[in-house]
Subunit: 436 residues, 2 copies
């Protein structure tokens, strides 16, 4: 039985009262950007709600509410810290509970409801944070192994450093887009004839366009230049999580990536889901991640075993004909490194993180067929097409294909109070006819 609410929360909704995720919306018929939370099939517009004194009953926060929620991004609210997020989330949840003393704030005020409670379908969502820097890690050990086998064979699949530190690289913040944004197939240099000598690239639209299934965390606490963040502190520095699709041009990547890593093959678009699931909402779903048998440097040794998150993840591919096929089912436990470990490692040199910075997990894959978080793995580097409904096959993405990532906690346990991410979706647009 789901937690009873006076608001209709449909069975199976990702946004149960156990969730209360935060995002940025444009209200119906508006181009403004407002902070909001999602509840069932509705959103509560926090910019309007706080301006209407909706937080008056939460005394510790009421003086901050307008500052926190009158901005077009959630950075200010995030920076207030996890103790405040916890209070505000709990207060908002109590407003929607059937028999809570706070229920009357909205339930009995139709005029206020009409001004700040909208149907989810009627609002547009936006990138919820101002993202200064974006870093993508490579913590999906099955993915790293699968890709390593394809390119270096099973004996050298993982590099020697892999189990000693969370390998990562600086990504491109400017091309992070919100779920639903079309993704244009990029142009780039590719090596069509790998045997040619000297090697001569061809300039053309990417022919090996891929997705990457990832989880990503937003930072809520800045550390100053020169001051590393301990692993214990790192837990407190994470605001919440979104799903991420790190679109990848595999043919561009293969040619460009030595010796400094992926660049153009990843910088044309990275899609995130719109609702930030707060770290506290995911606490009940802590779990063990992949086992790491290496002796870790002291700064990376966790004080507890359950530092991963038990989130069921799914990737669907929908063709232009409308056929939808689930091509990946896996779980966010398939990470060798936790997000706090990633954050701590990021700062161990003294690198400053800022509020709103985004940390990606790297591609999350299981170790069995149908659980891999990229086409590159599923098609074994372009050699084995996958079967789709509607009698289609795919090696890599075609124009018009839509990739939808979904993630949810509690489904496998049969919970009625789901904590889900909604979806992270993007459709491939044809490449430009010419670039110059």
């Amino acid at each position: 039985m789901a937690t009873p609410s006076w608001l209709d929360v449909p069975e199976g909704s990702h946004f149960s009262l156990a969730n209360i995720p935060f995002g940025i919306i444009s209200p119906p018929d508006s181009t403004e950007r407002h902070a909001a939370v999602a509840v069932g099939s509705h959103v509560l517009d926090l910019a309007i709600f706080s301006a209407e004194n909706g937080f008056a009953a939460l005394e510790s926060f009421s003086a901050h509410a307008n500052n926190a929620f009158s901005l077009p991004v959630l950075n200010y609210f995030a920076a207030l810290g996890r103790a405040v997020h916890r209070e505000v989330r709990s207060y908002l949840r109590s407003m929607f509970l059937q028999d809570s003393p706070h229920a009357q704030i909205l339930k009995n005020n139709e005029s206020l409801r009409r001004r700040c409670l909208f149907r989810l379908d009627d609002v547009r969502t936006h990138v919820p944070m101002s993202i200064g820097d974006y870093t993508d890690f490579y913590a999906g050990a099955n993915h790293a192994y699968n890709v390593g086998v394809l390119f270096r064979g099973a004996n050298n699949a993982l590099q020697p450093n892999y189990t000693h530190l969370p390998v990562g690289y600086h990504g491109r913040a400017s091309s992070i887009v919100i779920s639903g944004t079309p993704v244009r197939r990029p142009w780039g240099q590719v090596l069509q004839n790998a045997a040619s000598d000297p090697k001569e690239p061809t300039f053309r639209p990417c022919a090996k366009l891929d997705f990457e299934l990832e989880l990503a965390a937003f930072v809520c606490t800045a550390n100053p230049l020169g001051q590393p963040v301990t692993l214990a502190q790192a837990e407190e520095n994470i605001f919440g999580y979104v799903l991420m699709n790190d679109w990848s041009a595999r043919d561009v990547q293969a040619w460009e990536y030595v010796p400094l890593g992926p660049f153009g093959s990843k910088n044309f678009a990275t899609t995130i889901s719109p609702w930030i699931i707060l770290a506290d909402a995911l606490e009940p779903f802590r779990a063990k991640g992949l086992e790491n048998k290496s002796r870790l440097s002291p700064y990376l040794v966790p004080s507890r075993a359950d530092t991963a998150l038990d989130i069921d993840l799914q990737v669907d591919l929908t063709t232009t004909a409308g056929h939808r096929t689930t091509i990946t089912c896996t779980n966010a436990k398939n990470l060798l490194w936790s997000f706090p470990q990633m954050l701590t490692h990021h700062t161990i040199t003294g690198c400053p993180l800022n509020v709103g910075d985004l940390l990606g997990s790297g591609t999350i894959s299981g170790s069995t067929p149908g659980s891999q978080g990229s086409l590159l793995e599923q098609n074994r580097n372009g050699t084995a097409a996958i079967e789709l409904r509607g009698e289609e096959q795919r090696l890599f993405l075609q124009d018009g294909d839509t990739i939808t990532i979904t993630g949810c906690c509690g489904t496998s346990a049969g919970s009625r109070d789901l904590v889900g991410f909604g979806s992270c979706r993007g459709t491939i647009e044809a490449a430009l006819l010419k670039t110059h």
Copy 2:
């Protein structure tokens, strides 16, 4: 004979009337951040000057002046585009000319001069732009070759892609600091015994701390997601240039960098010089860069040969004992790719650049001893110490060492109207005693 000014412009000043570089300062006894230009040993505070109606005589710009110069960064001014930069720079220059009709604006107004004309020594400088994303290229072909020889031998020194595209990677924007900021020696994982099997890293302060001599460009025009910038347009999208020191922890880099590139080894600090030399000020110093014999993809083919910049570059190392040794003399012509080529390549996938984004050249090295832009090259991967004044030697940087990069156009031609960058300076601080 230098261009005559009513203001004393010392002989040999980098900031002659041919320059007029823009930066952000705090006026004496103030913590505010104001736009400014440097002239000789003085700075003109543009926030105060524009608020005092100093741009009234420049009709095309006077309505924009307060918006452009009342911010703590130059992004707004940069975004007005090169035609406006040209007009404003020309106007400001004319104010300082001995016999210009505009000379009276400041020359004959002692009260105004007292309010907005300060001695350079009396102001503090700041990072001049809000930097969304920072990208570092690898266009110094001699550097790439020198490093390649050290790690892969002369026959495989350059990767096959090197002469076909400007190799680059996304850097860390949050740790870009202004000249003079101390640089704390980072901790990190290093492989002290490369022969150990399995390879086990040690966690310790970096023992191979290095500098990298670079030039960097600020972007002044944004391109939307999905829209590449042509090479012709790219020239117009560059606001100006600064010197850059991309501090590098070589021992950390060697262990961490496969397969996704440098991360912690570069993200602890990147120092830039404070004064942005506008693209127009460098027009007279266009020159040919390094020859590229590869057949280029059409988007990278330049329409003119002189796309490099003839800037004499120098690196000095000063020890705690105060001995200063010039360890590098080279020139910015030592690049295989021009900044417009880097910018165009960056956007060819559709990656959006924003106003204020920073593009680094990669390490600039000559091909002869004493011309290499990093210690790694000079000490041949830690095997040959370099000699310093004061009877000291160095493999890598010691605590207390100061690296000062300077750059100037026109010195070798004996010009009295120098267009220089001033300096880009940082001193190494001891590592933290412990990180956790």
